[in-house]
Assembly symmetry: C2
Amino acid sequence: MAREALDVQGIQSTQSGRIFATYWIEGDRQEARARGEALALEQSHEFPRQYAPVKADRSLGRVESVGDVHDGGADVIISYPQELTAFEIPQLLVVLLGNGSLLPGIRLVDFSLTPDVVKALGNGPALGIAGIRKKLGVPHRALLATALKPVGLDVEDIAELGYESALGGIDLIKDDQGLGNQPWAPFEQRVPAVAAAIERGSEKSGHRSFYLPVFNPPAGQWNKHLDIALENGVGGMLVCPGTAGFDALRYVRDNTPDDFIVYAHPAFLGGWTSSDKHGIAPEILFGHLLRLAGADSVIYPSFGGRFSFTPQQCKDIADFARDDFEGMNPALPSPGGGMTVERVPELLDFFGPDTLFLIGGALHATGNLVEGAQKFRRAVEK
Amino acid sequence: MAREALDVQGIQSTQSGRIFATYWIEGDRQEARARGEALALEQSHEFPRQYAPVKADRSLGRVESVGDVHDGGADVIISYPQELTAFEIPQLLVVLLGNGSLLPGIRLVDFSLTPDVVKALGNGPALGIAGIRKKLGVPHRALLATALKPVGLDVEDIAELGYESALGGIDLIKDDQGLGNQPWAPFEQRVPAVAAAIERGSEKSGHRSFYLPVFNPPAGQWNKHLDIALENGVGGMLVCPGTAGFDALRYVRDNTPDDFIVYAHPAFLGGWTSSDKHGIAPEILFGHLLRLAGADSVIYPSFGGRFSFTPQQCKDIADFARDDFEGMNPALPSPGGGMTVERVPELLDFFGPDTLFLIGGALHATGNLVEGAQKFRRAVEK
């Protein structure tokens, strides 16, 4: 959805201590303003103005501007006092779109924070693009990821896939998000075996590949899973914010060494992006919100595969992930989902080299994973 | 969206050890079947069939039936081996709708589990309707809830609101979901003060009201917040699964005494219910999925307020929350959102007495919260 650039920075510079959210609200300009006023109240007081004690005005959201109508609605900028977020991610989500997500014809299309909030949340990705490149020793070319699958294999089968992927020169080898803690290859047994196999493959290939096991444990087992990962020297983890909660990204970042990669997977996030009249604009969700929570790289479904984002949406997500949002490290966009090695030249041209291309099943298409991986690697080295 | 009843039970009885999900899939019957086959693969292997080792077939999803076309699509039942869920809530969500949520024109409209999965997840609500009624000593009449707000007040102001709500005879007095851990009334200071005030109000009124503080802390502070709540003898907590993660419901249930009420709030869940072509059918999300995770009562936006569910959707949610799904305790439907005391007779007639009516700001309409609460109480005692 196209939208005009609103002068958030201009408004913000005159008001310290407030955060800003832009919502596209369905209706004409007058309706959008009226609904925006109601939304500002909903997301802060959720209480009738006429009965609210004056003291509580310090927590109130307010409409800052209403843009021109486009796509059947108008962009309304609402500001909130930064304290309303409690300087915590779960509460920030409540402020940005908690009840608002349940209202018809409202979509979060932009937001900005204060230096205090960004700092309290930990300044986004610890590594970002430069940090991942440094860790991998790959300064310029596009980066490569693959997924270990299918689920249902035994530990030694998965370890062998990890070994072959490393031997073929893939930079980051992650668990499939479907590969959690099933009895076929329990996390506790899989992680040491796969980590060791990838290290063997790396030694043989001469390029250091890293293992990123999945992070999606039940509550109460987070530290156990982190400990297993850290004890086995993995390169980072594949975190599922849709199922583990957005704050899981921050938690993994904050409880691991400085060079630990936080890689975000989009499973169970599709509710937010399935309509252009509700939810969250994809470039904001993937490019800013998950990055704010700590994602060094964000996976999202690319165009031309089996998912539904348009080329423009995919480009926007990549641009937003890499932009200078709130002074945070840029994150590595990681388009995936039904991509093939044959499409890499086109995708490289489209997304540029600061991209982590993710190809899973298609690397097996030659019948030889090492060859598939090598072909993938050569495609980005050209 | 109307849909025909599909014979899940009939299919299921012949196949032990598999869970079943019904998806409405856009398209004609043939398209729905083809997309259903692709979805069964996506949600399990996410790997090309032709390259998958035979061994991995033990984890594969499969289409069990395709219904007739309605509303521009057909209901497709897919079964998965129960082991695929890892017997954990975060992984169950990945199986049911992880990547599938990102595909166009697919909606989860039903699911059923196995006794092993239900048992491993803890059998749903510990209390349910009967348990909440027993705890409150209210065997028959409809139950009452209110929310402490607006955010921005000081601890003593909020405690006073709690006192007055208890004095007026409200059964469950919860924090507003917007009332997290802001500097105006930090959780650690608010909970003891409000708990004590509600106890004083209860002693004076002669009816035991319970305090339910919000549970939406950052990861790593979950036990701290639970400890504060338990030390202050609260009646339960208001858990926000949209922001804290669905598994937060289970975690709170499993780490508190048997008579602790788990009350689920819908903040940041609207992405799942904003379209009838995507996401999750509201009665399944609120009536079955949150209940499976442990919710004794589920808040959802009622019709006639400022939210968008239809009367039929609201009725369906209530019916599904109370049904005999998987042998779990029924959960108390808790419609809220812009309701008024004047509407209680109509709503009581519509929803029936096994309902927890939630009215927040409107109790202040008389200018006297105690009177507003008493009026609310009388409305359900008639």
